[in-house]
């Protein structure tokens, strides 16, 4: 079942967050996690042999669940916003410390 794969993809992202020490790689991990989560959300609305929920297609009454699709639209846009802020932060971190490696960033919490 493909739903297993989506959850697994989410955990690949979480593993990346826990293990990576490069800020850009962490942002990518964050995106992978969100991607897996979004696919999982869509998959909760899937119904066998049902069609896209648009009335014009002439398949009345046999639709997949439209609510997860509406929710995933919101989740994607929120993910976009977070990623934009994260990338800008990464740029500022690079400007301040000259590096993207977490281990080389020192002195944030000390003063």
């Amino acid at each position: 079942m493909s739903q297993y794969l989506y959850i697994a993809l989410m955990f690949v992202g979480i593993y990346g967050l826990l293990s990576q020490k490069n800020i850009l790689k962490m942002i990518i991990s964050l995106n992978i996690m969100e991607l897996g989560l979004n696919l999982f959300i869509i998959s909760t609305g899937y119904i066998k042999e049902a069609k896209a929920p648009i009335i014009l297609f002439g398949n009345e009454g046999n639709y997949v669940d439209p609510l997860p699709q509406a929710i995933v639209l919101t989740a994607i846009v929120i993910g976009l916003g977070v990623t934009a802020v994260a990338l800008m932060l990464a740029r500022n971190i690079y400007k301040t410390y000259g590096t993207y490696e977490i281990d080389e960033i020192r002195g944030e919490n000390d003063d």
Binding site: M10, I14, L17, I23, M26, L30, M33, E34, L37, F40, I41, T44, L67, P68, I71, T74, A75, I78, G81, V82, V85, A86, L89, A90, N92, I93, T96, Y97, I102, I105, E108, N109
Partner: protein
């Protein structure tokens, strides 16, 4: 009577307008904040549908006694925060208006996914405001943990949706007891982990020190009171009323809350800097309040939530202002500082004494009720609460002595040892200090008004049946 949706719509409208009329944004921000602070008292109670779609199909706002009192407290605190940080606003005015709308929506909403959206609004605004301290790496840590937390929360509620086919809080709380144990465990764990990030519970609070420890007079009170109160209030709503955990999980949640409390208070004991001390104290209080919500002591939890929120406003305002004026907040260098600003010293002292729960102050009622409801359960929870409170009392009293008394501990005070620190632009701070000091003294002597309203709020939280009938049977 004011329709509660206005508390979300008007700040947002003002935020959008302020983008293209930048000169007015100062007026808009203060106008909106005063509007919400006053209209909180005149809020219409009941269930409000958005777009006219009845729950569980549409989204609804829910104003019962619980969200009513939280809205009043949050909007007042927001206004006090603005006063404290009025020299720090700079370009953050639009974001502050969005935060005001977001935090009101967070407390009022009756839909789990809508709650996620509002949670994201305030966390993203939080990242941006926190970045004004130039500690970008700490903000990045906050961002990663915050996003991880909200993703876990979303996963939790989507598991619930896949099981129950609804996202409405009332509908879910009605069907939740009949759900199979395995789905219960998954959804509760993930929702708890997701909200735990914002509520600063132990495994998820690695971000707090970097953010709270580097706050400005604007972000300090904002994060430690407005955000914290909103997040913990949502925590109480969800785990006290909507998704009530069963006995095994609740044990784990209480344990986490208590561990957070004890661990944070011990760390605060060792802190040398004022903001760091207050940070750990905030974490500890969050752990304590969440423990109280989990063991069912809603009344005690609410009193302590409000007590802590008002106390932390003045504590954080003072600490961040001292840092802003002098570039340092090491406690040893601040000895005798209150002698220069007696008004602020008064507010700070009263707030601290109330926070640790001395008699004659409002916090006393919180501690008494807390112990009462904890003793009703078993012995080791109140024992740990008392232990933590004693630690907290020790370091706060030590702090007060230090700040009033110039010179080394145990020696005669001398003017020579008085701190060279000054507080710049201290007028608004004195105002807040006196206001909050008066609130604490008056509510300590005549607690009836506040305690009655809080008791009503606690009742409405434990009375899930009324909530259900208001939302699902309404109109």
């Amino acid at each position: 009577m004011i329709n509660p949706v206005l508390l979300i719509a008007i700040p947002l409208l003002a935020a959008f307008i302020s983008v293209f009329i930048q000169k007015l944004s100062w007026v808009l921000l203060f106008g909106v904040s005063i509007f919400t602070a006053i209209s909180g008292f005149f809020l219409q109670k009941g269930m409000f549908m958005i777009g006219g779609w009845k729950p569980p199909f549409g989204i609804n706002l829910m104003i019962d006694d619980y969200s009513f009192i939280i809205i009043i407290v949050i909007n007042l605190l927001f206004f006090l925060t603005l006063l404290s940080g009025m020299w720090e606003l700079k370009k953050n005015k639009t974001i502050l208006m969005v935060i005001l709308a977001g935090i009101n929506g967070l407390v009022m909403t009756g839909d789990l996914f809508n709650l996620f959206v509002f949670l994201e609004i305030i966390t993203i605004s939080g990242y941006i405001l926190a970045a004004s301290s130039d500690k970008y790496y700490s903000v990045f840590k906050y961002l990663v943990l915050g996003t991880l937390g909200s993703s876990l929360y979303l996963f939790g509620i989507m598991v619930l949706y896949g099981t129950l086919g609804t996202l409405n809080m009332a509908d879910i709380s009605q069907q939740f007891p009949n759900v199979s144990g395995s789905v219960k465990i998954i959804s509760l764990t993930f929702v708890f982990a997701g909200l735990g990030v914002e509520a600063k519970l132990l495994p998820f609070n690695a971000w707090v020190k970097g953010i709270y420890g580097n706050t400005t007079p604007l972000t300090g009170p904002l994060f430690s009171t407005v955000f914290a109160t909103g997040a913990i209030a949502v925590f109480g709503r969800i785990f006290g009323q909507i998704l009530v955990p069963d006995s095994t999980l609740i044990f784990a949640f209480i344990a986490l809350g208590l561990i957070t409390f004890i661990f944070a208070e011990t760390s605060a004991m060792a802190s040398k800097k004022l903001r760091e001390l207050l940070t750990f104290s905030s974490i500890g209080q969050a752990g304590l309040i969440i423990t109280m919500f989990m063991i069912g002591g809603f009344y005690a939890a609410l009193i302590q939530l409000i007590n802590n929120a008002f106390a932390k406003t003045i504590l954080f305002s003072y600490a961040t202002k001292a840092y802003k004026s002098n570039g340092d907040d090491t406690i040893n260098n601040m000895s005798g500082l209150f002698r220069k600003n007696v008004m602020m010293g008064f507010g700070f002292t009263v707030a601290t004494l109330s926070l640790i729960g001395l008699p004659l102050f409002f916090g006393f009622y919180a501690k008494i009720n807390m112990l009462q409801s904890a003793f009703a359960l078993n012995m080791w929870i109140p024992a740990l609460i008392i232990l933590g409170s004693i630690i907290e009392g020790i370091y706060y009293i030590r702090l007060l002595v230090k700040l009033w008394n110039p010179g080394e501990e145990g020696q005669e005070s001398s003017e020579l040892a008085q701190s060279q620190f000054v507080i710049k632009n201290g007028f608004s701070l004195s105002l807040i200090a006196v206001l909050i000091g008066i609130i604490f003294v008056v509510s300590g002597i005549i607690p009836d008004f506040l305690t009655e309203n809080i008791a009503k709020a606690a009742d409405s939280l434990s009375d899930a049946a009324t909530y259900l009938s208001t939302v699902l049977g309404g109109i």
